[in-house]
Protein backbone atom coordinates (compact mmCIF):
# COMPACT_ATOMS: atom_id res chain seq x y z
CA UNK A 1 0.00 0.00 0.00
CA UNK A 2 1.16 3.49 -0.73
CA UNK A 3 2.19 5.61 2.21
CA UNK A 4 -0.31 8.31 1.46
CA UNK A 5 -3.84 8.16 0.21
CA UNK A 6 -5.00 10.18 -2.70
CA UNK A 7 -8.23 10.69 -0.82
CA UNK A 8 -8.61 14.02 0.88
CA UNK A 9 -11.78 14.21 2.82
CA UNK A 10 -12.33 16.88 5.39
CA UNK A 11 -13.65 15.04 8.41
CA UNK A 12 -17.20 15.94 9.22
CA UNK A 13 -17.65 17.96 6.11
CA UNK A 14 -18.18 17.34 2.48
CA UNK A 15 -15.10 17.50 0.35
CA UNK A 16 -14.45 21.22 0.11
CA UNK A 17 -14.10 22.93 -3.26
CA UNK A 18 -10.49 23.78 -2.41
CA UNK A 19 -9.79 20.09 -1.76
CA UNK A 20 -11.18 19.22 -5.16
CA UNK A 21 -9.12 21.97 -6.74
CA UNK A 22 -6.06 20.59 -4.97
CA UNK A 23 -6.82 17.06 -6.15
CA UNK A 24 -7.31 18.11 -9.73
CA UNK A 25 -4.12 20.18 -9.55
CA UNK A 26 -2.30 17.15 -8.17
CA UNK A 27 -3.45 15.14 -11.16
CA UNK A 28 -6.30 13.23 -9.53
CA UNK A 29 -8.98 13.27 -12.14
CA UNK A 30 -12.06 11.23 -11.46
CA UNK A 31 -13.46 10.03 -14.74
CA UNK A 32 -17.19 9.87 -15.34
CA UNK A 33 -17.04 6.06 -15.35
CA UNK A 34 -15.11 5.77 -12.11
CA UNK A 35 -17.49 8.25 -10.49
CA UNK A 36 -20.46 6.22 -11.66
CA UNK A 37 -18.89 3.07 -10.25
CA UNK A 38 -18.16 4.79 -6.91
CA UNK A 39 -21.78 5.94 -6.89
CA UNK A 40 -23.01 2.33 -7.06
CA UNK A 41 -20.76 1.28 -4.19
CA UNK A 42 -21.73 4.31 -2.13
CA UNK A 43 -25.45 4.01 -2.76
CA UNK A 44 -25.58 0.36 -1.70
CA UNK A 45 -23.86 1.26 1.56
CA UNK A 46 -25.98 4.37 2.13
CA UNK A 47 -29.35 2.74 1.55
CA UNK A 48 -28.50 -0.29 3.68
CA UNK A 49 -27.24 2.00 6.46
CA UNK A 50 -30.55 3.86 6.38
CA UNK A 51 -32.50 0.58 6.50
CA UNK A 52 -30.47 -0.86 9.38
CA UNK A 53 -30.62 2.27 11.52
CA UNK A 54 -34.39 1.70 11.78
CA UNK A 55 -33.64 -1.21 14.11
CA UNK A 56 -32.18 1.05 16.78
CA UNK A 57 -34.60 0.73 19.72
CA UNK A 58 -36.56 -1.99 17.92
CA UNK A 59 -34.22 -5.00 17.87
CA UNK A 60 -35.06 -8.15 19.88
CA UNK A 61 -32.47 -7.22 22.52
CA UNK A 62 -30.49 -4.11 23.38
CA UNK A 63 -27.21 -5.68 22.24
CA UNK A 64 -28.73 -6.04 18.79
CA UNK A 65 -29.88 -2.42 18.75
CA UNK A 66 -26.26 -1.54 19.26
CA UNK A 67 -24.85 -4.11 16.87
CA UNK A 68 -27.10 -3.17 13.96
CA UNK A 69 -26.56 0.51 14.75
CA UNK A 70 -22.80 -0.02 14.62
CA UNK A 71 -23.02 -1.90 11.33
CA UNK A 72 -25.14 0.95 9.94
CA UNK A 73 -22.60 3.51 11.13
CA UNK A 74 -19.75 1.64 9.42
CA UNK A 75 -21.75 1.45 6.19
CA UNK A 76 -22.52 5.15 6.41
CA UNK A 77 -18.79 5.75 6.70
CA UNK A 78 -18.16 3.74 3.52
CA UNK A 79 -20.93 5.65 1.76
CA UNK A 80 -19.45 9.01 2.76
CA UNK A 81 -16.07 8.08 1.30
CA UNK A 82 -17.46 6.66 -1.93
CA UNK A 83 -19.96 9.48 -2.48
CA UNK A 84 -17.42 12.20 -1.75
CA UNK A 85 -15.13 10.62 -4.31
CA UNK A 86 -17.91 10.21 -6.89
CA UNK A 87 -19.16 13.74 -6.33
CA UNK A 88 -15.76 15.27 -7.00
CA UNK A 89 -16.27 14.43 -10.68
CA UNK A 90 -19.36 16.61 -10.78
CA UNK A 91 -18.51 19.30 -8.22
CA UNK A 92 -21.03 17.84 -5.78
CA UNK A 93 -20.63 17.07 -2.10
CA UNK A 94 -21.61 13.87 -0.32
CA UNK A 95 -24.62 15.74 1.08
CA UNK A 96 -25.65 16.95 -2.39
CA UNK A 97 -25.66 13.33 -3.54
CA UNK A 98 -27.39 11.88 -0.49
CA UNK A 99 -30.09 14.50 -0.01
CA UNK A 100 -30.73 16.13 -3.35
CA UNK A 101 -30.86 13.34 -5.88
CA UNK A 102 -34.16 11.98 -7.14
CA UNK A 103 -35.01 8.30 -6.88
CA UNK A 104 -34.09 7.66 -10.51
CA UNK A 105 -30.61 9.07 -9.91
CA UNK A 106 -29.73 6.47 -7.28
CA UNK A 107 -27.75 3.40 -8.33
CA UNK A 108 -28.48 1.07 -5.43
CA UNK A 109 -29.41 -2.56 -5.96
CA UNK A 110 -32.88 -3.89 -5.11
CA UNK A 111 -31.56 -6.07 -2.26
CA UNK A 112 -30.57 -3.17 0.00
CA UNK A 113 -33.86 -1.41 -0.72
CA UNK A 114 -35.92 -4.31 0.60
CA UNK A 115 -37.91 -3.61 3.77
CA UNK A 116 -36.46 -4.95 7.01
CA UNK A 117 -39.27 -7.45 7.61
CA UNK A 118 -38.78 -9.38 10.83
CA UNK A 119 -35.39 -9.97 12.43
CA UNK A 120 -34.97 -13.18 10.41
CA UNK A 121 -35.35 -11.33 7.12
CA UNK A 122 -32.95 -8.58 8.18
CA UNK A 123 -30.35 -11.18 9.15
CA UNK A 124 -30.91 -12.99 5.83
CA UNK A 125 -30.31 -9.73 3.95
CA UNK A 126 -27.23 -9.04 6.12
CA UNK A 127 -25.88 -12.52 5.47
CA UNK A 128 -26.24 -12.25 1.72
CA UNK A 129 -25.04 -8.67 1.46
CA UNK A 130 -22.08 -8.93 3.82
CA UNK A 131 -20.76 -12.07 2.12
CA UNK A 132 -21.10 -10.31 -1.26
CA UNK A 133 -19.53 -7.09 0.03
CA UNK A 134 -16.67 -9.00 1.66
CA UNK A 135 -15.83 -10.76 -1.61
CA UNK A 136 -16.16 -7.44 -3.48
CA UNK A 137 -13.93 -5.37 -1.19
CA UNK A 138 -11.38 -8.19 -0.93
CA UNK A 139 -10.78 -7.69 -4.64
CA UNK A 140 -11.30 -3.93 -4.80
CA UNK A 141 -8.24 -3.48 -2.57
CA UNK A 142 -6.20 -4.32 -5.69
CA UNK A 143 -7.97 -1.78 -7.89
CA UNK A 144 -5.81 0.38 -10.13
CA UNK A 145 -7.72 3.33 -8.72
CA UNK A 146 -5.85 4.20 -5.52
CA UNK A 147 -8.74 5.92 -3.82
CA UNK A 148 -11.18 3.06 -4.38
CA UNK A 149 -8.50 0.64 -3.18
CA UNK A 150 -7.93 2.70 -0.02
CA UNK A 151 -11.63 2.93 0.82
CA UNK A 152 -11.99 -0.83 0.24
CA UNK A 153 -9.01 -1.68 2.44
CA UNK A 154 -10.41 0.45 5.25
CA UNK A 155 -13.94 -0.90 4.88
CA UNK A 156 -13.02 -4.56 4.47
CA UNK A 157 -11.85 -4.84 8.08
CA UNK A 158 -15.26 -3.61 9.22
CA UNK A 159 -17.22 -5.84 6.84
CA UNK A 160 -15.31 -8.77 8.30
CA UNK A 161 -17.13 -8.09 11.59
CA UNK A 162 -20.48 -7.56 9.81
CA UNK A 163 -20.21 -10.88 8.02
CA UNK A 164 -19.29 -12.71 11.19
CA UNK A 165 -22.25 -11.10 12.97
CA UNK A 166 -24.65 -12.28 10.26
CA UNK A 167 -23.18 -15.78 10.18
CA UNK A 168 -23.42 -16.19 13.96
CA UNK A 169 -27.08 -15.17 13.91
CA UNK A 170 -27.85 -17.39 10.93
CA UNK A 171 -26.43 -20.37 12.79
CA UNK A 172 -28.33 -19.52 15.95
CA UNK A 173 -31.66 -18.90 14.26
CA UNK A 174 -31.41 -21.67 11.67
CA UNK A 175 -30.36 -24.31 14.16
CA UNK A 176 -32.46 -22.85 16.97
CA UNK A 177 -36.13 -23.40 17.63
CA UNK A 178 -38.69 -24.53 15.09
CA UNK A 179 -40.03 -20.98 14.92
CA UNK A 180 -36.62 -19.30 14.51
CA UNK A 181 -35.73 -21.86 11.83
CA UNK A 182 -38.96 -21.17 9.97
CA UNK A 183 -38.49 -17.41 10.08
CA UNK A 184 -34.84 -17.55 9.03
CA UNK A 185 -35.70 -19.77 6.06
CA UNK A 186 -38.57 -17.48 5.08
CA UNK A 187 -36.25 -14.49 5.35
CA UNK A 188 -33.79 -16.15 2.99
CA UNK A 189 -36.54 -17.06 0.55
CA UNK A 190 -37.82 -13.50 0.50
CA UNK A 191 -34.47 -11.83 -0.22
CA UNK A 192 -33.28 -14.48 -2.65
CA UNK A 193 -34.94 -13.03 -5.80
CA UNK A 194 -32.68 -9.96 -5.41
CA UNK A 195 -29.40 -11.85 -5.10
CA UNK A 196 -28.95 -12.37 -8.83
CA UNK A 197 -28.62 -8.63 -9.53
CA UNK A 198 -25.48 -8.39 -7.38
CA UNK A 199 -23.52 -10.52 -9.81
CA UNK A 200 -24.46 -9.03 -13.19
CA UNK A 201 -21.65 -7.57 -15.33
CA UNK A 202 -22.62 -4.64 -17.52
CA UNK A 203 -21.09 -2.09 -19.89
CA UNK A 204 -19.75 0.14 -17.13
CA UNK A 205 -17.85 -2.79 -15.65
CA UNK A 206 -16.49 -3.67 -19.11
CA UNK A 207 -15.17 -0.12 -19.50
CA UNK A 208 -13.26 -0.24 -16.20
CA UNK A 209 -10.88 -3.23 -16.42
CA UNK A 210 -8.45 -3.27 -13.49
CA UNK A 211 -10.47 -0.59 -11.70
CA UNK A 212 -13.86 -2.19 -11.10
CA UNK A 213 -14.35 -5.69 -9.75
CA UNK A 214 -16.24 -7.95 -12.14
CA UNK A 215 -19.40 -8.92 -10.21
CA UNK A 216 -19.76 -12.30 -11.97
CA UNK A 217 -16.39 -13.36 -10.49
CA UNK A 218 -17.82 -13.09 -7.01
CA UNK A 219 -20.61 -15.59 -7.53
CA UNK A 220 -18.65 -18.82 -7.03
CA UNK A 221 -16.96 -17.84 -3.74
CA UNK A 222 -20.28 -16.33 -2.57
CA UNK A 223 -22.17 -19.55 -3.28
CA UNK A 224 -19.49 -21.67 -1.63
CA UNK A 225 -19.46 -19.80 1.68
CA UNK A 226 -23.22 -19.38 1.74
CA UNK A 227 -23.80 -23.11 1.15
CA UNK A 228 -21.39 -23.93 3.97
CA UNK A 229 -23.09 -21.56 6.43
CA UNK A 230 -26.62 -22.62 5.48
CA UNK A 231 -25.64 -26.28 5.69
CA UNK A 232 -24.33 -25.82 9.19
CA UNK A 233 -27.44 -23.84 10.12
CA UNK A 234 -29.69 -26.64 8.79
CA UNK A 235 -31.18 -24.23 6.25
CA UNK A 236 -31.80 -24.72 2.55
CA UNK A 237 -30.31 -22.61 -0.24
CA UNK A 238 -33.54 -21.11 -1.62
CA UNK A 239 -34.83 -22.38 -4.92
CA UNK A 240 -36.50 -19.17 -6.03
CA UNK A 241 -36.37 -17.43 -9.41
CA UNK A 242 -34.59 -14.05 -9.73
CA UNK A 243 -36.88 -11.03 -9.69
CA UNK A 244 -36.95 -8.32 -12.33
CA UNK A 245 -34.57 -5.67 -11.00
CA UNK A 246 -33.24 -2.30 -12.06
CA UNK A 247 -29.72 -3.49 -12.91
CA UNK A 248 -28.19 -0.34 -11.48
CA UNK A 249 -30.20 1.86 -13.79
CA UNK A 250 -32.89 4.44 -13.20
CA UNK A 251 -35.55 1.94 -12.12
CA UNK A 252 -35.91 0.99 -8.48
CA UNK A 253 -38.05 -1.18 -6.27
CA UNK A 254 -41.28 0.37 -5.03
CA UNK A 255 -39.70 0.70 -1.57
CA UNK A 256 -36.94 3.18 -2.34
CA UNK A 257 -39.13 6.26 -2.69
CA UNK A 258 -40.47 5.94 0.85
CA UNK A 259 -36.99 5.40 2.23
CA UNK A 260 -35.68 8.49 0.44
CA UNK A 261 -38.61 10.59 1.58
CA UNK A 262 -37.69 9.87 5.18
CA UNK A 263 -33.94 10.19 4.66
CA UNK A 264 -34.09 13.45 2.73
CA UNK A 265 -36.96 15.34 4.36
CA UNK A 266 -34.97 17.29 6.96
CA UNK A 267 -32.30 18.43 4.52
CA UNK A 268 -34.95 19.51 2.01
CA UNK A 269 -37.11 21.22 4.61
CA UNK A 270 -34.15 23.32 5.77
CA UNK A 271 -31.85 23.84 2.77
CA UNK A 272 -28.33 24.79 3.75
CA UNK A 273 -28.80 23.86 7.41
CA UNK A 274 -25.94 22.13 9.19
CA UNK A 275 -26.18 19.97 12.27
Amino acid sequence: MSGESATRITPGNALRPEDIAEQVAAGTKVSEDVAEYALRLGDDALILAQRLSWWISRAPEIEEDIALGNVALDLLGHARSFLTYAGSAWGKSEDDLAYWRQESEFRSCFLVEQPNGDFGKTIARQLVFSIYQHELYSRLVDSADETLAAIAAKSLKEVDYHRDHAIQWTLRLGDGTEESHRRMQEGLNSVWPYVHELFVDDELIERLPGVAVRPSELRAPFDALLAQVLGEATLEVPDVQPAMTGNRGTRHSEHLGYLLAEMQVVAREHPGATW
Binding site: M1, S2, G3, E4, S5, T7, R8, I9, T10, P11, G12, E63, E64, I66, A67, G69, N70, V71, L73, D74, L75, L76, G77, H78, R80, S81, E146, A149, A150, I151, A153, K154, S155, K157, E158, D160, Y161, D164, H165
Partner: protein
Protein backbone atom coordinates in the same frame (compact mmCIF):
# COMPACT_ATOMS: atom_id res chain seq x y z
CA UNK B 1 1.15 -6.70 11.48
CA UNK B 2 1.64 -3.33 9.92
CA UNK B 3 4.93 -1.53 10.25
CA UNK B 4 3.39 1.77 9.24
CA UNK B 5 3.99 3.36 12.60
CA UNK B 6 3.72 7.13 12.62
CA UNK B 7 6.98 8.90 13.47
CA UNK B 8 7.43 12.19 15.25
CA UNK B 9 9.21 14.47 12.80
CA UNK B 10 12.92 15.09 13.44
CA UNK B 11 13.18 18.74 12.46
CA UNK B 12 12.32 21.26 15.16
CA UNK B 13 9.37 23.31 13.80
CA UNK B 14 7.34 20.24 12.76
CA UNK B 15 8.28 18.37 15.95
CA UNK B 16 6.96 21.25 18.03
CA UNK B 17 3.64 21.19 16.21
CA UNK B 18 3.53 17.39 16.58
CA UNK B 19 3.96 17.67 20.35
CA UNK B 20 0.99 20.05 20.51
CA UNK B 21 -1.22 17.90 18.30
CA UNK B 22 -0.17 14.82 20.29
CA UNK B 23 -1.81 16.23 23.43
CA UNK B 24 -5.30 15.97 21.92
CA UNK B 25 -7.36 13.23 23.54
CA UNK B 26 -9.96 11.03 21.96
CA UNK B 27 -13.33 12.51 22.98
CA UNK B 28 -14.78 9.08 23.76
CA UNK B 29 -11.74 7.73 25.60
CA UNK B 30 -10.32 10.81 27.29
CA UNK B 31 -7.33 9.00 28.78
CA UNK B 32 -5.85 8.27 25.37
CA UNK B 33 -4.23 10.82 23.11
CA UNK B 34 -4.53 10.59 19.37
CA UNK B 35 -0.83 9.71 19.40
CA UNK B 36 -1.46 6.75 21.76
CA UNK B 37 -4.21 5.55 19.45
CA UNK B 38 -2.20 5.89 16.27
CA UNK B 39 -4.74 8.32 14.81
CA UNK B 40 -2.07 11.01 14.47
CA UNK B 41 -0.12 10.01 11.37
CA UNK B 42 2.05 12.96 10.42
CA UNK B 43 2.74 16.62 11.07
CA UNK B 44 4.59 18.71 8.51
CA UNK B 45 5.41 22.34 7.96
CA UNK B 46 4.05 23.58 4.65
CA UNK B 47 7.15 24.86 2.83
CA UNK B 48 7.19 28.58 2.18
CA UNK B 49 3.76 29.30 3.65
CA UNK B 50 3.23 31.45 6.70
CA UNK B 51 0.29 33.00 8.49
CA UNK B 52 -0.07 36.77 9.03
CA UNK B 53 2.16 36.64 12.12
CA UNK B 54 4.91 34.78 10.27
CA UNK B 55 4.27 31.40 11.92
CA UNK B 56 4.64 28.53 9.47
CA UNK B 57 1.52 26.82 8.13
CA UNK B 58 1.27 23.24 9.35
CA UNK B 59 -0.45 20.21 7.93
CA UNK B 60 -1.64 17.55 10.37
CA UNK B 61 -2.55 14.14 8.98
CA UNK B 62 -4.98 11.90 10.84
CA UNK B 63 -6.70 8.64 10.00
CA UNK B 64 -10.08 7.39 11.28
CA UNK B 65 -10.29 4.29 13.45
CA UNK B 66 -13.61 3.23 11.89
CA UNK B 67 -15.07 4.65 8.66
CA UNK B 68 -18.09 6.11 10.40
CA UNK B 69 -16.30 7.31 13.54
CA UNK B 70 -18.02 10.55 14.57
CA UNK B 71 -15.12 11.50 16.86
CA UNK B 72 -13.14 12.65 13.83
CA UNK B 73 -15.00 15.98 13.66
CA UNK B 74 -14.19 16.79 17.28
CA UNK B 75 -10.60 15.68 16.90
CA UNK B 76 -10.14 17.93 13.89
CA UNK B 77 -11.58 20.93 15.75
CA UNK B 78 -9.47 20.17 18.81
CA UNK B 79 -6.27 20.03 16.75
CA UNK B 80 -7.01 23.36 15.10
CA UNK B 81 -7.88 24.93 18.47
CA UNK B 82 -4.82 23.55 20.31
CA UNK B 83 -2.38 24.67 17.64
CA UNK B 84 -4.21 28.00 17.45
CA UNK B 85 -3.58 28.55 21.15
CA UNK B 86 0.13 28.11 20.46
CA UNK B 87 0.14 30.69 17.71
CA UNK B 88 -0.46 28.52 14.65
CA UNK B 89 -3.15 30.34 12.70
CA UNK B 90 -2.87 28.32 9.49
CA UNK B 91 -3.57 24.67 10.34
CA UNK B 92 -4.68 22.18 7.73
CA UNK B 93 -6.03 18.86 8.91
CA UNK B 94 -5.90 16.12 6.35
CA UNK B 95 -7.73 12.81 6.65
CA UNK B 96 -6.17 9.77 4.99
CA UNK B 97 -7.63 6.30 4.60
CA UNK B 98 -4.49 4.43 3.51
CA UNK B 99 -2.82 2.68 5.10
CA UNK B 100 -5.94 1.64 6.99
CA UNK B 101 -5.82 2.09 10.75
CA UNK B 102 -5.21 -0.94 12.90
CA UNK B 103 -5.16 -1.52 16.66
CA UNK B 104 -1.58 -2.74 16.11
CA UNK B 105 -0.58 0.95 16.02
CA UNK B 106 -1.74 1.59 19.55
CA UNK B 107 1.28 2.33 21.74
CA UNK B 108 2.19 0.15 24.73
CA UNK B 109 1.68 3.17 26.94
CA UNK B 110 -1.75 3.64 25.38
CA UNK B 111 -2.73 0.05 26.13
CA UNK B 112 -1.61 0.42 29.75
CA UNK B 113 -3.62 3.65 30.16
CA UNK B 114 -6.65 2.02 28.58
CA UNK B 115 -6.53 -0.90 31.01
CA UNK B 116 -6.15 1.44 33.97
CA UNK B 117 -9.19 3.34 32.75
CA UNK B 118 -11.26 0.15 32.83
CA UNK B 119 -11.27 -0.77 29.14
CA UNK B 120 -9.52 -4.00 28.20
CA UNK B 121 -6.94 -3.22 25.49
CA UNK B 122 -6.89 -5.19 22.22
CA UNK B 123 -5.26 -8.58 22.72
CA UNK B 124 -3.17 -9.93 19.88
CA UNK B 125 -2.48 -8.56 16.45
CA UNK B 126 -4.89 -7.75 13.64
CA UNK B 127 -3.10 -10.14 11.30
CA UNK B 128 -4.17 -13.07 13.43
CA UNK B 129 -7.81 -12.49 12.50
CA UNK B 130 -7.20 -13.16 8.83
CA UNK B 131 -5.57 -16.61 8.95
CA UNK B 132 -7.39 -19.87 8.18
CA UNK B 133 -7.92 -20.47 11.89
CA UNK B 134 -9.14 -17.54 13.90
CA UNK B 135 -7.24 -17.68 17.12
CA UNK B 136 -8.72 -15.46 19.75
CA UNK B 137 -6.70 -14.77 22.87
CA UNK B 138 -8.48 -14.51 26.18
CA UNK B 139 -9.53 -11.02 27.13
CA UNK B 140 -8.34 -10.04 30.58
CA UNK B 141 -10.77 -8.40 32.99
CA UNK B 142 -9.41 -4.90 33.70
CA UNK B 143 -10.79 -5.03 37.25
CA UNK B 144 -9.69 -8.38 38.66
CA UNK B 145 -7.25 -9.55 35.92
CA UNK B 146 -9.12 -12.82 35.44
CA UNK B 147 -8.84 -14.43 32.01
CA UNK B 148 -12.15 -16.18 32.58
CA UNK B 149 -14.30 -13.72 30.63
CA UNK B 150 -16.98 -13.93 27.96
CA UNK B 151 -18.15 -11.78 25.08
CA UNK B 152 -21.66 -10.39 25.62
CA UNK B 153 -21.87 -8.50 22.38
CA UNK B 154 -19.28 -7.80 19.73
CA UNK B 155 -20.66 -4.34 19.03
CA UNK B 156 -20.48 -2.07 22.05
CA UNK B 157 -20.89 1.54 23.14
CA UNK B 158 -18.70 2.83 20.29
CA UNK B 159 -17.61 1.32 16.97
CA UNK B 160 -14.24 0.31 18.39
CA UNK B 161 -15.49 -1.56 21.45
CA UNK B 162 -17.15 -4.86 22.34
CA UNK B 163 -18.93 -5.63 25.60
CA UNK B 164 -17.51 -8.37 27.82
CA UNK B 165 -18.30 -9.77 31.23
CA UNK B 166 -15.94 -11.26 33.78
CA UNK B 167 -17.08 -14.71 34.92
CA UNK B 168 -15.20 -14.33 38.21
CA UNK B 169 -15.94 -10.82 39.49
CA UNK B 170 -19.13 -10.67 37.38
CA UNK B 171 -18.46 -7.10 36.26
CA UNK B 172 -19.25 -6.15 32.68
CA UNK B 173 -16.52 -4.19 30.90
CA UNK B 174 -15.63 -2.66 27.53
CA UNK B 175 -13.07 -4.34 25.30
CA UNK B 176 -11.25 -2.42 22.59
CA UNK B 177 -11.55 -4.96 19.80
CA UNK B 178 -8.79 -5.93 17.41
CA UNK B 179 -9.12 -4.31 13.98
Amino acid sequence: MSTNTAVRPAEAPAAKAWDIAATICDPEIPVLTIEDLGILRAVAVVPGEYDAAGTPAVEVTITPTYSGCPAMDTIRDDIVAALGRHGYADVRVKLVLAPAWTTDWMTGEGKAKLEQYGIAPPTGLAGVRTGPVRLGLSVKCPRCNSLNTREITRFGSTSCKALYQCNDCKEPFDYFKVL
